[in-house]
Each structure stands twice: as structure tokens, then as C-alpha cells.
């Protein structure tokens, strides 16, 4: 019994040490990427390539997710609101939820799944095939060449994707609200301007920007930390998606608490 307790304490100690080491390593990585972001040469071409990959190439999946989210949410709200005869409020409720919460969080989850995984896989496979070493030997900083454009690309793309999510989600809700539930088009839209303000849109945009940065840094960090061969790349990719999604959800809670106070 005593040995078992001792072993449990040792395991706990090892886990805490590993966690702290991991945090230290992640902080070190973050600092390096910040340093190399401001150091020339500025790699605009790589940045635009990443914005194209993360932004443009995600539009279709964002379109699908947002249109159905808006439509389904409108339906669900209608079912609840109909009971108290307040179904004309579907417009503002759906739009506020989209602007403040659904657009940034769901865009974040989509990008974490699609792009965070791709970042980890691309950088991870470059690491195991010594391509990162090749960059370093040439005198090119691999953080600046590989991590910075991806992190900035995600940071800049996610607010735009979130804005697109909001617009298309609103479109989905409008379609269901006015064409299926048959709420008057003018009432549906005019009530939105009564209940919404710019602060709500700003909240969503700020959240999306933070999520973009975090997804970028987690995806690239996992890529740089890949060890071994194909199995390591798979593990790194998996970690990038899991940690990316968890981070979006947890940080969303804290950001909501903070932003509702200041906006």
C-alpha cells in the first residue's frame, strides 16, 4: 500500500514536471516566433500563400457550416419562441449569437481541424525528413520561414472567415425565418438593428483574431516538436487538432468574461 502511494506521488510529480517543461518549451517557442516576426526579411509571399490556404481554401467549408448553423438555429429558436408568441425575435437572437459566439468559435473549430492539422503535418514531415535542418544550414531561420507566415496567416484570416460566417449564417437564418416560418422580412431585419450594436460584432472579431493566433501557434509548435517518423507526424497532427479545439473553447470562456465587461 505504501509503495503504491509512493508510486502515485512519483507519477504525479513526473506529470507536473513534464507539464511545466512543456509549458516552458511552448513559451520559448512563442517568444522566438514573436522575435522573428519583427526581424527582416519580411516574407510577404509566404504570408499571402498562407492567407490563401487558410482563408480562401476554407471558404467552402465555412459556407456549409455557417449556412446550416444559421438555418438550424433559426428553427430551434422558433420552436422555443413560438410558445411565448415571440417568434419575430428570431432575427436578432440568431444574429447576436452568431456575431458574439457562433461565428468566431465555429470558424475557429473548423480552422483548427483543417489548417492546424495541415500546419503540424507539413512542418512535422519537413522535420523528420531533415528539410528544417536544410533550411538552418543555409542560414535561414526555420521559425521565421515556416512558423511566422502560418501564425500571421491564421491570425489575419480567421476574423475574415468569422465575418463571412456571420453574413452567411444570417443569410441561412433569414431564409428560414422569412421563407419557411414566414416572419415579415422588414420585422426580421429591423429588429436586429434595435438589439445589436457594433460592440457585439467587435467582440466576435477580437475573439476570432485571438483564436487564429492560438491555432497558428499550436499547429506550428506541434509540427516543430514532431519526433520519429510517420507515426510522430500523425501524433503531432492529432495533438494540433485536439489542443487547437480545446484552446478555442477554453479561451472563449475567458475572453467572453473579459470582453463583455469592456465592450
Amino acid at each position: 500500500m505504501k509503495v503504491l502511494v509512493q508510486r502515485r506521488i512519483e507519477d504525479l510529480g513526473t506529470n507536473v514536471t513534464n507539464l511545466l517543461l512543456g509549458l516552458g518549451d511552448f513559451t520559448n517557442f512563442t517568444m522566438k516566433t514573436i522575435f522573428w516576426t519583427f526581424k527582416p526579411p519580411y516574407r510577404w509571399k509566404l504570408l499571402f500563400e498562407q492567407i490563401y490556404f487558410i482563408g480562401n481554401k476554407s471558404i467552402f467549408i465555412i459556407f456549409l457550416t455557417s449556412s446550416f448553423t444559421g438555418a438550424v438555429f433559426a428553427f430551434q429558436i422558433y420552436v422555443g419562441m413560438k410558445v411565448i408568441n415571440a417568434d419575430s425575435f428570431i432575427g436578432p437572437i440568431v444574429t447576436i449569437a452568431l456575431a458574439k459566439e457562433l461565428a468566431p468559435v465555429l470558424s475557429g473549430l473548423v480552422v483548427a481541424g483543417r489548417c492546424g492539422a495541415a500546419m503540424a503535418a507539413q512542418i512535422g514531415s519537413m522535420k523528420v525528413t531533415e528539410q528544417i535542418d536544410a533550411l538552418e544550414v543555409m542560414g535561414i531561420n526555420s521559425y521565421q520561414y515556416l512558423a511566422v507566415p502560418r501564425i500571421l496567416g491564421a491570425t489575419l484570416s480567421l476574423p475574415l472567415l468569422s465575418a463571412i460566417f456571420l453574413l452567411i449564417g444570417y443569410g441561412g437564418a433569414w431564409l428560414i425565418g422569412t421563407k419557411v416560418i414566414l416572419i415579415d422580412e422588414v420585422i426580421f431585419s429591423s429588429l436586429i438593428s434595435d438589439f445589436m450594436d457594433l460592440g457585439m460584432v467587435a467582440e466576435g472579431i477580437i475573439k476570432a483574431t485571438v483564436f487564429g493566433y492560438l491555432i497558428g501557434i499550436i499547429g506550428t509548435y506541434q509540427g516543430f516538436n514532431v519526433t520519429g517518423g510517420a507515426e510522430g507526424v500523425g501524433k503531432g497532427t492529432n495533438m494540433a487538432v485536439v489542443w487547437g479545439m480545446i484552446t478555442v473553447l477554453v479561451v472563449d470562456f475567458f475572453l467572453t468574461s473579459f470582453l463583455t465587461k469592456i465592450l
Partner: protein
């Protein structure tokens, strides 16, 4: 031998990772304009030695001097500039898989020179031709090339910035015997066609037969120490029992 004759000098270098000593008082010089092969069994410290030359790993104590510069005493940015003196061929070529062979060789030129696209094209095609890569192969991605072709493209990329030191990390691992000798012939040819502007080749290998055939000097490592550093003919006659065992393989 005087210091001026060395392009790389290890001065009492010790490297420890935790409690493990990987390099133990390594003290020798690699002779300028010659082909030197670092031989040894797996885990002898060959790769760590190479990483010290490139400044990718720093010694725990001692100094590494390359072309007269003590690379463990210069700043990171200066070191990055300094690395342009090196060309490197990796074990599995390490070509950028998102770029064609042409673009791989053009990469360092686009990064570090102000050459026009026409000049880059001329230089890259010249380099690829010199290592026997056709125009068609130049347009292919690394995944579409054979192992030998990848090594040759890797060699062309390593030569793009006219380096003074060329490093080869197990350049023929995974290749068949005929391609192995083709690659070694090419390395030797490359060495002697560049030696006029100062060119030292360092090969990390455990291929004893190719080493004896193609190198000028041999450094033999065991347990993180340099056991012998001799010219090839003297190495063949070495009485060291470990080397004798290696030679009899």
C-alpha cells in the same frame, strides 16, 4: 602542421548531453582543400561532430574554429551569415518536397543573392547539368526522382552559393553499389573542380571501402574521441585493433 592549413579546427571540444559525454576532448584539424572522411561505428559521435562544424550544436567546453572564425563565440545572426560558407548534402537529400528540382537549387540563390531570374536559370541549369540531371528531371518534384537523382540534386543545391566547405552526411546510405560509386565519383569530381577557390570536403560515413578509395584523409572516431587522424595510406596500415576490425569488415 600549421593552423593555416586547417579549414576546420576542433580545440579540446567536449560535448555533454546531461550526464552523457558525446564528444570527449576532441582536438584535431581538417586539412584545407582535401577530402576528409569521418569514420566510426554508430553512436561514435560523428553526427554531433558535424553539427558542431555547422554551429547547430555548441560545445560544452572547447572551441570550434571554421575558416579562422570561432563559431561558438559569434552571435546567432552572424552565425547564420557564416553558414553560407557551407554546402551540405543530407543523408536522404532533404530536398524541399514542395519545390521542383530546379526550384530547390534556385532556392538559396533567390534567398541570398540579387541575381536576376535569367541569371538564376543559367546557373541552376549549369549546376544540374554538372551533376547529370536532365531538363525533364529538373522540372520534377523530389518525390518523382530516384534516390540517386535526389542526392545529385542535393549536391547541386549545396554548391549553389559556391561554398568553401562541403559536408556530406552518409551521402550514399540507401543507394545500390553502382549508384554509390557514381555519387562518390561525382563528389570527388566536384571537389577537384572547385578546389581552386578553396574547397574542403568532409564526409561522414561508415562505408570503409568507399572511404579508402575516395578520401585523402580519414578521421576515426570511437566513443566520442578521435582515435586516429591519418592520410588514407597510413590509415590502411594502422595497428589500432578497432581500426583493424573496421578494415577487415
Amino acid at each position: 602542421m600549421t593552423n593555416e592549413q586547417f579549414s576546420i579546427e576542433f580545440k579540446h571540444v567536449v560535448k555533454k548531453f546531461g550526464d552523457t559525454t558525446v564528444l570527449n576532448d576532441v582536438d584535431f584539424g581538417i586539412i584545407k582543400n582535401k577530402i576528409t572522411t569521418v569514420l566510426g561505428f554508430s553512436g561514435a559521435g560523428k553526427t554531433t561532430l558535424m553539427k558542431h562544424i555547422l554551429g547547430l550544436t555548441m560545445p560544452t567546453s572547447g572551441d570550434v574554429e571554421v575558416l579562422g572564425t570561432c563559431i561558438n563565440k559569434i552571435g546567432e545572426l552572424e552565425l547564420r551569415e557564416f553558414r553560407r560558407n557551407f554546402g551540405m548534402v543530407f543523408q536522404y537529400a532533404a530536398l524541399f518536397d514542395f519545390l521542383t528540382s530546379f526550384e530547390n537549387v534556385a532556392f538559396p540563390l533567390r534567398e541570398f543573392t540579387k541575381m536576376t531570374e535569367a541569371e538564376i536559370k543559367e546557373k541552376v541549369m549549369g549546376l544540374l547539368e554538372s551533376v547529370g540531371i536532365s531538363k525533364e528531371a529538373a522540372a520534377r518534384l523530389p518525390s518523382e526522382l530516384s534516390g540517386g537523382m535526389r542526392k545529385r540534386v542535393g549536391l547541386a543545391r549545396g554548391l549553389a552559393l559556391d561554398p568553401h566547405i562541403m559536408l556530406y552526411d552518409e551521402p550514399t546510405s540507401g543507394l545500390d553499389p553502382i549508384t554509390t560509386h557514381m555519387v562518390y565519383d561525382l563528389m570527388r569530381e566536384t571537389h577537384y573542380s572547385n578546389v581552386h577557390h578553396g574547397f574542403t570536403s568532409v564526409i561522414i560515413s561508415h562505408d570503409i571501402h568507399a572511404t579508402l578509395k575516395y578520401s585523402d584523409y580519414v578521421v576515426f572516431m570511437e566513443n566520442g574521441q578521435v582515435v586516429e587522424h591519418l592520410d588514407v595510406e597510413s590509415f590502411k596500415k594502422s595497428e589500432n585493433p578497432v581500426i583493424r576490425r573496421f578494415l577487415e569488415l
